[in-house]
Symmetry: C2
Subunit: 393 residues, 2 copies
Amino acid sequence: MRPEDLVFASRFDGISGSAIREIFKLLAVPGMISFAGGNPSPESFQCDLCAELARELLSSKGKVLLQYGATEGYLPLKEALVPYIRESFQVEATTDTLLPTTGSTQGMDLLCKALINPGDAIIVEDPTFLGNMQCMKLYEARLVPVPSDEEGMDTDKLEEAILREHPKMIYVIPTFQNPTGRTLSLERRKKIAALAEKYGVVVAEDDPYRDLRYKGEALESIKHFDKAGMVALLGSFSKVISPGLRVGFLCADPLILRKCTIGKQSSDVHTALLNQAIVAEYLRRDLLRPHVAEICAMYKKQMEAMLEGLSHCAGIESYTRPEGGLFIFAALKEGMDAKEKMMKCVEKGAAYVPGTHFYAFGGHENTLRLNFSMSSVEEIARGMAILDSVFGA
Amino acid sequence: MRPEDLVFASRFDGISGSAIREIFKLLAVPGMISFAGGNPSPESFQCDLCAELARELLSSKGKVLLQYGATEGYLPLKEALVPYIRESFQVEATTDTLLPTTGSTQGMDLLCKALINPGDAIIVEDPTFLGNMQCMKLYEARLVPVPSDEEGMDTDKLEEAILREHPKMIYVIPTFQNPTGRTLSLERRKKIAALAEKYGVVVAEDDPYRDLRYKGEALESIKHFDKAGMVALLGSFSKVISPGLRVGFLCADPLILRKCTIGKQSSDVHTALLNQAIVAEYLRRDLLRPHVAEICAMYKKQMEAMLEGLSHCAGIESYTRPEGGLFIFAALKEGMDAKEKMMKCVEKGAAYVPGTHFYAFGGHENTLRLNFSMSSVEEIARGMAILDSVFGA
């Protein structure tokens, strides 16, 4: 027998890898202006600082950092996370409620591992982040989309869905959501925390963009309003320090965290220690705050350039006006197909992701997600001109 | 509702975290001579070299290494792995048959994710590595132990078990096995590759200790004899460069690797790029080979000191005589309890792991695993004297 005759695990039924990865292959053309990705700008990486931190850390603590570490995480990072989470998320964490993870992607994977049996329902915003929908599908969860509006997930519809579907988990990206860029209102944050307690549903609060705020006031996290311990907060340093380092964290009740930790033992034993230590130094030396201020100043201009382009772009029916993050979500006039238009844009040298991919059950063919972090203000103007010409044709 | 009322996923039924982790908590006493762990010696870490490599890499390639990478792995590492795997494993890999993983632990997790449905049988050596048994249990696999002798897994009993249990996978550590230190004979390697093809069972060949050979001749890997593509080779740099960096690899047929890659997308997106790049430099600059020679010279003396101690240790009925690796497996006289004796040893300042934990269904209470990599020759002599006094009492 050969591998072509193998029967793979049923969790892969209907899963063929991320659809938007296929789009990314189209973009490997020099000069392509890509609004398709979700990467932070390479301009935001502090290469020399990271080089110096890595050197210092390995020179002074190499015997610890190169050895096996605890699955529970590198203690100096956990200690440095406590004040960071207090300030950024308005949450009182302790080292017992924190688990460093290999990116927040792993945090989501571990929460599903801890909680989801095949067939269990997970409520997701419609649209939402594709990568984590794939994660849920690999745990054979039943995705239950709940619509969102300008204030984020509709909490009336959420309560109806909870009563109807008895979900195990609610997955929500409250701040500068992917793909919409929208922010969940304060009232709805309180409401979601209350619903989680009332109905016994764990909330996976995925908040990687929160520090990238270009205007308006920061809102308390859902976890801030969580008296019962039913909210698990997923954090990431991918958007503000580096995605390549793969460091995020899970902040959750110790009982939930205990299952995630056991799950992590056989996922990767622990997150790489050097990587945890570099992030710890960013926090301990107060390097993150001034760095975030610089990134925000840069991204703010890029977001404004894109909003300006959208304001006079042909064919555009509506678009979101985020206060931060990496994405704007737009709708073409009813009947227009963003997938078909995308191929024409790519021919002319600009790309985006059709919004349909972010909806649990597809549809919404007239929508598109636009990323502004990977393009300069000048490239954004040129790219938006291409979209204008294609959408207006 | 609160977390104490949550029903966790059924994959955790009967799983309480690694039993030997509880033992390790006993050992956090200054001066304790521990034969319990499986860590490489901190003396084997090249801290200054790693510091310099990290600095150079981030200075010169930071914009790439700090950005998101491909799930499929960092190409310079994959290219450097090809000649390494040819030389060390006698296997002709290509970049299409290689997937860098976050430690070989993740390689095992991804193979289970790709192949195992709840209730599927996996054949394991009896005894075998505890951590990967926990991984299999979290995929709700049915573990089928097959006994091993001086030449490793008994392949006649293996074939009987295949015919009886129709397993999906065979898990084997062919070289300097954990916990026994034994090496699978060449004939049995060929036989396992042939059985895999004949019966359509995937072999997970976990070979992290292969480069730590202190005497005798290297044997070809099982994968070397794999004509059908049914053997998946798990490799690791944890024992020869650093476990803290979390870099391993999976070498398998592209069809199997494709499922593992999709599974990895939602596990951690990709293995941290800096860590992949450090390992790539070790291979590209031929730094690994001389380093391994040095480590082997050190570990050889430690292994010999432990074998010498065992040769006149009271109460010992038998023990293995490995040609490399990190472990020796010993049996006390019938009726003696290695668990009970361990508590007495710990009181006197020396520790090991009772062998019963490494057997899929327990038993074998008179066995123990001894690690020699974490103790100096002098500590080994003192520790063995403690064992002698306790076992002889």
